[in-house]
Amino acid sequence: MTPDERIAVADAVLARSRADATEVSIETSRLGLTRFTHETVNQNIDQTNTSLRVRAVVDGRVGIAATNAFDASALDAVAARAVEIALLAPRESTPPVLAGNAAADAPAGAFVAATAAAGPEQRASVAGAIFAHATDGLWSSGYAMTANYGLTVATSNGARMSFDGSDAGANVKMNGPDSTGFAESYSRDVNALDGTLLGAQSARIARETRAPLAVDPGDWTVILAPAAAGELLRYLTLNFSAESYSDGSSFIAGKLGTPVLGANVTLRDDYAHPLNPGMPFDFEGFPTQRVTLVAGGLANDLVTDSTWAQRLNRPNSGHALPAPNSDGPQSSYTVLDAGTKSLETLVAETKRGLLITRLWYVRIVDQRTVLLTGMTRDGTFLIENGTLKCGVRNMRFNASIVAALKDCELGDTQRRTGSYHYSLVTPAIKFNHFHFTSVSPY
C-alpha cells in the first residue's frame, strides 16, 4: 500500500468507528532475507504483510482490535470489535490522549528505491562475495537482508502521519577449527553492503585468534568493539523509560540531574542519526523527539509516550510502542557519543587487556545495579604492551554496566550495530575494570 492508500483505508475505518476517539495504525512490510551456512543458502525468504490496528476510546475505556484483512466486512468488524472491547473495559486512570496532526519529517534518505527493489539475486551476490573469503579451513555463516516498511497513524483528532523506510544489512561469522570471527554492516541502501569487506574482516579475525589461550578470569581492562558494546548498552537504555523510572526499578530512579555515569559519557535517543533507521513519529502518531538521556554523565531525561507523559507531567517524547503495550515507552534508537581516540590508540595505550569483538546472551542479573552477565564470542584478543598478541578462549563476565561506564574511554568512530533486532549506534568502548567469572573450554 502507498501512503495515500493507507490513509484512505484509515479514513474508512475512522468513519466506521462509533468510539469517542479512535486511532488507526496501518503497517506494511516486506522482508527478503538470505541465510547461509557452509557457503550454501539454507534459508531464503520473501515475506509480505499489511496489518491494521484500531484503538478505540469510549468514556475513558480502551479497546484494541487488529486484522490483516481489508475488505469492507473486515473493516466493519475490526472497528466494531475495538468499540465492543472498550465498552467492556474498566475506565482507565489515565485515558490516552490521541495525537493530532503535526509535522514530522522523515530523516534524509529514509527510503531508498534500490533497496525496495532488491531481490534474491542481489542478496545472493552479497553472500557470494562473502563465500570467497571462506578459505584455509574457514566456513561462513550469516545473512543478507533487505526490507521496506511503511506506517500510517490516523486519529479522530486529525493526525494523518505516514512514513516509509527501507533497510538493508548483512553479517557473517567465519568459523575455523578453534576460532571464529565476525563482521556486520547495515545501511538504508542495499548498494552500501560490501560482502567482500565483510568476508575479509571476519576471516581476518578468525585467523588471528586461532589456537586461543585460556586466560584467568578476574578483573580485566577490556576494549569492546561496537558489536560488543551495543549488546551491553541495550540493557542500559531500558532504564530511561518513564515507566521504569516511575516504578523504581531503574538505576536512575530519583537521580535525574545527578551524576550517574562518567563525565565523558553522553547518551542520546536519536531516530534521525544518519546511521539509525529511525521513524519520525511513534506508534501513537506523536512526533518523536531527539532526547539526550545522559549529558556528560548526568542523568538528563526520559523517554515517554502519551500515557507516561501525563502520569509524570512531562513532555511526550514520542516513544510509544504498538498497543497494547504494558512495558511503557522505550528508547529504540540509542546513540552513544564518540570520544577522541581511535581503536588503534585505545589498544596501543593498553598494557594488558582484552579486545572483544562480540558478546552473546547478555542478561540482567541485578536490576538496580544493572549487573549483567554474558559471554564473549567470535574473536577475543589478548592485548599485551599495546599490541594484539593472540586469541583467547571465550569467557563469562559478571559486571555492572553502570559501574563500568564510570571509568571508560570512548573510541572516535561510531558504528551501527544490533542487526534487525534493534538498532544502536556506538563507538568502541574501553572499560578499565570489567569482571570475568569463568572461562569456556573453547
Binding site: 527478503g32 538470505t34 541465510r35 551456512t37 557452509h38 557457503e39 550454501t40 543458502v41 539454507n42 534459508q43 531464503n44 525468504i45 520473501d46 515475506q47 509480505t48 504483510n49 499489511t50 496489518s51 475505556r61 480502551v62 479497546g63 484494541i64 487488529a66 486484522t67 490483516n68 475490526v78 470489535r81 472491547i85 467492556l88 474498566p90 482507565e92 531481490g119 534474491p120 542478496r123 545472493a124 563465500f131 566456513w139 550469516g142 545473512y143 553479517n171 523504581g248 526499578s249 530512579a253 498497543a323 497494547p324 504494558s326 542479573v365 541485578d366 536490576q367 538496580r368 554474558g374 559471554m375 564470542r377 563469562r396 559478571n398 542487526s419 567469572t437 569463568s438 569456556s440 573450554p441
Partner: protein, 483 residues
C-alpha cells in the same frame, strides 16, 4: 474456511515455474490478550491474522514466500516468489540440502479443550485479573502489580504437491501475574506461576489451573520480604531447583543443544552452534543415569502439541537422552536425512509469515521417583531456588549461569530462611551428571514458554519442557554476587 482452491492454484503455479516440490500452509490466527497493571486495564486486545507461507524446492535449494493476499494475482505472485528465492539460492549453493519428501497424509487434529475461551465473557476475564492484581499489593513496597491472560486459536491447513492435506486446530492458553517490590535501594520481582505464567495447550481450564487469586497475596508478600532477605551465599554446595527452573535448565542446556540445525551450523552466526555432534549418539554421557529426556509432541497439555509439524511430518515420541546417554536430536527432514535418521517432527513456524525451521517443541525430563519433600532430606548445606529471573548460556550451550527470583537455605535436610538473588553456574554435561534425584510424577508439570527466540528473522516459539523439581550436587552458587 476451505483453502483447497487457493492451495491448488499455488501448487500449480509453483510447478509451472519449476518447483520439483511445493507445500503451502494457510493459517488463521486469533490472539487475545488482557493485562492489568496497578488497577488499570493496560491492554485489552483481539488480533486476527490470516495468511500463508509457501515452500518451494528447486535444484536442491529451498525458497519461501509468505503473503496475506488471497486473490489470484497475490497467490500467483507469492508462488512465483517462492520459486524465485529457491532458484537464487540454488545458483550459489555448493551443496544440495533439500530433497522432496515422500510421506503423505490426509488427516485432521484438534486440541482437546474443556472450556472454550470464547465462552468466557471478557468481563469475567478482566474481573479475574483485577482481583488477582489487587491482592498482589500486599505491602506498600509493591510499586507494580500485573496480571495477564493470553489466548490463541490457530487453524492450520497444510497442502503439499505430493498430496498431503492436513487440517489442525490448535488452542493454547496462558496466564500469570507479577509483583515488583522496591525499597532499601533494591528491586525484587516475583512471578506466578513459574517464571512467566502457566502456558499450555487447552482452553480456559489452563487459566483456572494457574490459581491466580489463590496465590496473589503470597506472591506480593514474598516480593516484599525479598527486599530484606539475606543475600544467597556463594560457594560450592548442593541445590534443589523448583520445577519451572528445571524446565528452563532443560530448555537452555539440553533442548537447544540437541537441535540438529545448530549442530550442523545453520544457526552459527546468531543462536550459535552446539557442543554435540552426531558421532556422540549413544556414547556421550550427558547426565547421570536417572536423566531421561524425550520429545513428545503428543503430550496432553504440551504447549507445542500437534499431530503434525509445519513440514507435514507426523508427531512421534523420541529419545534425546536415555539413561543419561545422548540418544537423539530434534530434527527436520533435511537434517535427519543427513545423519541417516527420520525426522521427529520438530519443525515449526511462528506464524503463516515465518519460514518453518527446527524448533524445540515438547521436550521433557521424565519424572523420577523422589517425593518433593525428600529432595531435601540428605542435603546438609544447600539452597532451594525457584522461578527464573536471569538466564545466560554460551553459544555452544556449555557455560551457563542462571539466577532465580527466590531461594531458601537448606540446613540438615530442612528448608530454612528465605534468600534473595540466588544464582548458580556450571557446564552442561558436568551439571547434568551431578543430578542425583528427580521429583516424582506428583510434582511433574508441563511448563510452557510462549517466547523462545531463534532464527533470522527471529521467530518466537511456543514450547514445553515438562519437569519436576530436581537435586544437583556440588554446584557453584552465588556467582555474580561474589565479586
Amino acid at each position: 474456511m476451505d483453502f483447497s482452491h487457493h492451495a491448488a492454484r499455488v501448487l500449480d503455479t509453483a510447478a509451472v515455474r519449476g518447483a520439483v516440490y511445493c507445500d503451502v500452509r494457510f493459517e488463521r490466527t486469533r490472539s487475545e490478550r488482557a493485562e492489568v497493571r496497578n488497577g488499570d486495564v493496560s491492554g485489552l486486545a483481539d488480533e486476527r491474522s490470516d495468511g500463508y507461507g509457501i515452500r518451494a524446492l528447486v535444484d536442491g535449494a529451498w525458497g519461501f514466500a509468505a503473503s496475506n493476499g488471497f486473490d489470484d494475482d497475490a497467490l500467483d505472485l507469492a508462488a512465483a516468489r517462492a520459486v524465485e528465492t529457491a532458484r537464487a539460492a540454488a545458483a550459489i549453493a555448493v551443496r544440495r540440502i533439500g530433497e522432496a519428501p515422500t510421506d503423505c497424509y490426509v488427516d485432521t487434529f484438534a486440541t482437546p479443550v474443556d472450556r472454550d475461551p470464547i465462552d468466557i465473557p471478557l468481563g469475567e476475564r478482566v474481573a479475574l485479573l483485577l482481583d488477582a492484581e489487587k491482592l498482589l499489593h500486599a505491602a506498600p513496597s509493591i510499586t507494580v502489580g500485573r496480571a495477564w491472560i493470553d489466548l490463541w486459536h490457530t487453524e492450520k491447513f497444510f497442502f503439499s504437491s505430493i498430496g498431503s492435506q492436513i487440517a489442525q486446530t490448535i488452542v493454547q492458553s496462558g496466564s500469570g501475574m507479577s509483583a515488583l517490590a522496591v525499597g532499601n535501594g533494591d528491586a525484587q520481582m516475583r512471578v506466578w506461576p513459574g517464571d512467566r505464567g502457566l502456558y499450555q495447550s487447552g482452553g480456559w481450564e489452563i487459566v483456572e489451573a494457574a490459581q491466580l487469586r489463590d496465590n496473589a497475596q503470597r506472591i506480593g508478600e514474598e516480593a516484599h520480604a525479598l527486599l530484606s532477605a539475606p543475600q544467597c551465599p556463594s560457594g560450592i554446595m548442593d541445590i534443589v531447583l523448583g520445577g519451572s527452573q528445571v524446565s528452563l535448565q532443560i530448555h537452555e542446556s539440553c533442548g537447544h543443544a540437541a537441535e540438529l540445525d545448530r549442530i550442523m551450523g545453520w544457526e552459527a552466526n546468531f543462536s550459535g552452534t552446539s557442543f554435540l555432534s552426531p558421532d556422540q549418539l549413544g556414547t556421550l554421557r550427558y547426565g547421570s543415569p536417572i536423566v531421561n529426556i524425550q520429545i513428545d509432541n503428543t503430550l496432553p497439555l504440551g504447549f507445542a502439541t500437534a499431530a503434525y509439524d509445519d513440514e507435514g511430518t507426523k508427531s512421534v515420541v523420541s529419545d534425546i537422552i536415555r539413561g543419561g546417554l545422548l540418544a537423539g536430536f530434534e530434527t527436520s527432514r533435511d537434517t535427519a536425512r543427513a545423519i541417516g535418521r527420520a525426522s521427529n517432527a520438530c519443525v515449526r513456524a511462528q506464524s503463516w509469515m515465518h519460514v518453518p525451521m527446527i524448533r524445540m517443541c515438547n521436550l521433557n525430563l521424565l519424572p523420577g521417583d523422589t517425593p518433593f519433600e525428600e529432595l531435601f532430606t540428605d542435603v546438609a548445606d544447600g539452597v532451594y531456588m525457584e522461578a527464573n529471573r536471569s538466564w545466560s548460556i554460551d553459544d555452544r550451550r556449555l557455560n551457563f549461569q542462571f539466577g532465580c527470583q527466590i531461594g531458601w537455605e537448606i540446613r540438615n535436610g530442612k528448608r530454612g530462611r528465605m534468600l534473595k538473588n540466588p544464582t548458580y553456574a556450571g557446564v552442561t554435561p558436568q551439571f547434568w551428571n551431578s543430578c542425583d534425584a528427580i521429583g516424582d510424577a506428583a510434582a511433574w508439570r508441563a511448563w510452557g514458554s510462549p517466547n523462545c527466540g531463534k532464527g533470522e528473522p527471529i521467530q518466537s516459539g511456543r514450547t514445553t519442557q515438562a519437569a519436576a523439581p530436581a537435586r544437583f550436587r556440588m554446584v557453584a552458587v552465588g556467582v555474580g554476587y561474589d565479586a
